[in-house]
Subunit: 112 residues, 2 copies
């Protein structure tokens, strides 16, 4: 009998599954958190997550996160930032960018 295996998630393969911007796909679940990847392209809407911090890690591309009451956060490939809970923000990407997001499992990805 073959030994069981633990799945390997390849980001490049997952990228190819994404066609729609702002529609995250789940990559992995770890503890009570989920890692999602989304294509950012254009402007998202202003929103906040009342109870959860949200981590953005730019895998490819260049993203600006506008944050109410703060300076804009400019993220290039290989850079990450955490938007604290309850802080209103809006991601913007002039071209197509691929972004990993780290969120609690119960987070509605579209926010309020």
């Amino acid at each position: 009998m073959d030994a069981p295996w633990i799945p390997v998630i390849d980001i490049e393969t997952k990228l190819e599954e994404i066609e729609e911007p702002w529609s995250p796909v789940d990559l992995a679940t770890v503890n009570d958190q989920v890692i999602r990847m989304a294509l950012f392209h254009g402007e998202y809407h202003w929103h906040r997550h009342e109870e959860e911090d949200e981590l953005f890690y730019v895998y490819r591309g260049e993203v600006r996160i506008e944050v109410k009451g703060h300076r804009d956060v400019e993220l290039r490939s290989g850079e990450m930032a955490v938007i604290p809970r309850d802080v209103e923000h809006r991601p913007v990407s002039a071209g197509p960018s691929y972004v990993l997001m780290f969120e609690p499992l119960q987070l509605k990805s579209k926010g309020d």
Copy 2:
């Protein structure tokens, strides 16, 4: 008065701070989780985390995670896997590899 800013974490800059293998540095905290980066080089010891899953994401290099009762998990750059809680495992990297790990804040990074 300048608006407050949210810190940007640049992985390439953090890489340069790491000299010792198997000594994770914290990159960011999000909710009750912490993202760490470590240099993997050589063989780590067999260990398990009783209560926590552990995510490994290979940023650069090539890592094998040997897992008791499972097939080896071979991860190249851009690939990730989740080692479930309470499963004994041992990371191995023939050359230097840089790996992001996602763990609950309270996890002792060296395991039991």
